[in-house]
């Protein structure tokens, strides 16, 4: 987890903990590490009434509770939908069905999406 840091861990919400755990496990794979090293920008994730910001910079990810001011993109949905996405249910289908809403830079989202998905080999 050295490449993922959770800001103020004792106060982090469940969404941030889930995402931090999934990404941390994914980074055990070199391909995912490479993906992280290239990611740059801030993504806000809303699930239900929880919000976290994923801040990618310099090959590291910092997860903060709440929204950062300068966001490049955002993803919103129910906890169930976002967990479904993490488990590999089709993101496009869920976006078209209105279960997940995305805003901002879609290319950044596409770039980091594999980091947010549960990898069975991780």
């Amino acid at each position: 987890m050295e490449h993922v840091s959770i800001d103020d861990l004792p106060r982090m919400n469940l969404l941030g903990l889930f995402l931090g755990n999934i990404i941390g496990r994914n980074l055990e794979q070199p391909a995912q590490m490479k993906r992280l090293s290239k990611a740059k920008g801030n993504i806000i994730v809303h699930a239900g009434t929880m919000t976290v910001s994923l801040c990618f910079s310099g090959g590291k990810l910092t997860i903060l509770r709440g929204s950062v001011a300068e966001a490049n993109a955002s993803v919103s949905g129910t906890m169930d939908s976002l967990m479904g996405m993490a488990l590999g249910r089709g993101m496009v289908g869920m976006v078209l069905a209105g279960r997940i809403k995305i805003k901002g830079n879609p290319f950044l989202l596409l770039k980091i999406k594999p980091l947010l998905m549960v990898s069975e080999s991780a």
Partner: protein, 480 residues
């Protein structure tokens, strides 16, 4: 009789290797999980047979020393700590599974048999029966949990564990061996009745009335299809309401609730500091089973209908998550996939201290006790770790407030005790009754107990143990 003479007497009964007297070896017997002050026993004895237990009783009476029974050491509230000069009777060597009566659905076991041991036995022997498990570690004693009237994952259906006893054998303080329940007359240990319930003289008496040497532990049929689900609920009072409603729907084998802090601990957050106002406050945990897939599907359908009715009222909750899904999202959830389980974040954390106020009480007042408990814990700076469950079909339920602390920090231990006192007082005021009642709680509730109840307990104890040999720290009512 001095300590050396006593040691020699015990060695004659047990063999020298089963009498512990050296300080380093006594260390594990001086503390428990909770904030109790360390209290080393004079000696520890480790009997393996009923005759040896009888011998210990006789020697203790003769020497005027007390005996405090204990099994695995995962104790709470000082119940298994001996008073000064007292002797601990470690029953872990009495660990035989004597038989499993498959047709009559019980296992006859000795006090040292553990949850993992009986589970392994049922699996190895391909016995198609299941057992209820507590949240305590797998290496703890089944008999001790039942005798202390604890609870487990089948308590919603079948009540507290004292109700799962099919009969007992015990050595009374005078050395006599009694059988209570069905085995007082029958060759099968099928229940506590229909004779007068003398098993009750050994349940919740905390070892003050004798040492149980055999117990029939009731087992139940294992439905072939099951699903374990978690539901994130954003308001704890809706979780409490759902527990009540789900009891009445009778579709689940188990319904429990864990507060938000436990979820975070599974992610390695040792001391969750505060709840994000946007995150779920409670996790409902549900077990559903069926004889075939259709029965299970119907139960799930009824559950979903109920959850939709809550949503239709405007309450916020997430869709049920299967435990297998949760394990894929975070493998740590595997700890909740199968029982018995060891929750390291509770029992193996750096500070080592685990304390709780555990009460049984009316489901109708869960909200009130929840409010009071959360306020008290916040005032002392502890996150509100709560575990609750309806029991016996919803006739009552368990409400536990759990705190983790540093056992080496005297100031923190005192603060935890003070907080626990407030939690007990708040619960008792609302009609909740502490179970596995620690001595310090007995002091606190004595004045509120029915006086004739207290006097009757005293009389029973004097009649059974006139020399005051057994567990003198437990249920030690103060004289008027």
């Amino acid at each position: 009789m001095n300590r050396d003479a006593l040691k020699q007497r015990f060695e004659e009964i047990l063999g020298a290797e089963h009498v512990i007297s050296q300080p380093p070896d006594l260390e594990p017997y001086t503390t428990d999980y909770t904030e109790e002050d360390p209290r080393p026993p004079a000696l520890v004895t480790r009997p393996a047979t009923v005759e040896q237990v009888q011998g210990l009783m006789a020697a203790a009476r003769e020497a005027g020393v007390s005996l405090t029974p204990r099994v695995s050491g995962s104790n709470v509230g000082g119940l298994a700590l001996a008073p000064e000069g007292g002797v601990v009777v470690d029953l872990s060597r009495m660990n035989r599974i004597l038989k499993v009566e498959t047709d009559d659905m019980y296992a006859l076991i000795e006090p040292g048999v553990t949850w993992e041991q009986l589970k392994a036995h049922l699996l190895e022997q391909k016995i198609p029966l299941r057992m209820g498990y507590p949240l305590s570690p797998p290496d703890t004693s089944i008999v001790a949990n039942c005798l202390l009237d604890g609870l487990g994952n089948l308590s919603m259906r079948y009540g507290s564990m004292g109700d799962w006893i099919g009969g007992l054998e015990a050595v009374l303080p005078d050395g006599e061996v009694i059988r209570t329940g069905a085995p007082a007359l029958s060759d099968l240990w099928f229940g506590r009745g229909p004779l007068p319930d003398l098993t009750g003289l050994l349940v919740s008496w905390q070892g003050t009335t004798g040492i149980v040497t055999k117990m029939a532990f009731q087992l139940w049929p294992e439905p072939p299809h099951r699903q374990r689900l978690f539901i994130l609920v954003y308001d704890r009072n809706i979780a409490f309401r759902a527990m009540r409603d789900l009891c009445r729907l009778q579709i689940c084998d188990d319904v429990g609730g864990l507060s938000w802090t436990t979820g975070k601990m599974l992610f390695g957050v040792q001391k969750p500091a505060e709840r994000d106002p946007g995150e779920p406050e409670f996790f409902l945990y549900l077990d559903l089973t069926g004889q075939n897939p259709r029965e299970l599907e119907l139960r799930l359908e009824l559950l979903n209908n109920y959850l939709e009715s809550l949503e239709a009222e405007g309450h916020q909750l997430e869709k049920p998550l299967d435990i297998k899904t949760l394990v894929r999202l975070n493998p740590e959830f595997n700890k909740l996939a199968d029982f018995p389980t060891r929750l390291e974040f509770l029992v193996d954390h750096p500070g080592g201290g685990l304390s709780w106020v555990g009460t049984y009480g009316p489901l109708s007042r869960f909200e009130a006790y929840g409010d009071a408990g959360v306020e008290i814990m916040a005032r002392y700076g502890y996150p509100p770790t709560m575990v609750s469950r309806p029991m016996k079909g919803g006739h009552f339920g368990v409400m536990r407030f759990i705190s983790l602390f540093d056992k080496q920090d005297d100031q923190e231990r005192r603060a935890v005790r003070q907080m626990n006192e407030e939690l007990v007082d708040a619960g008792v005021k609302l009609g909740f009754i502490p179970y596995k009642t620690p001595p310090w709680v007995v002091d606190r509730i004595q004045a509120q107990l029915n006086p004739a109840f207290v006097e009757t307990m005293r009389r029973v104890r004097r009649a059974i143990d006139p020399d005051g040999v057994m567990a003198p720290r437990c249920w030690a009512f103060k004289e008027k």
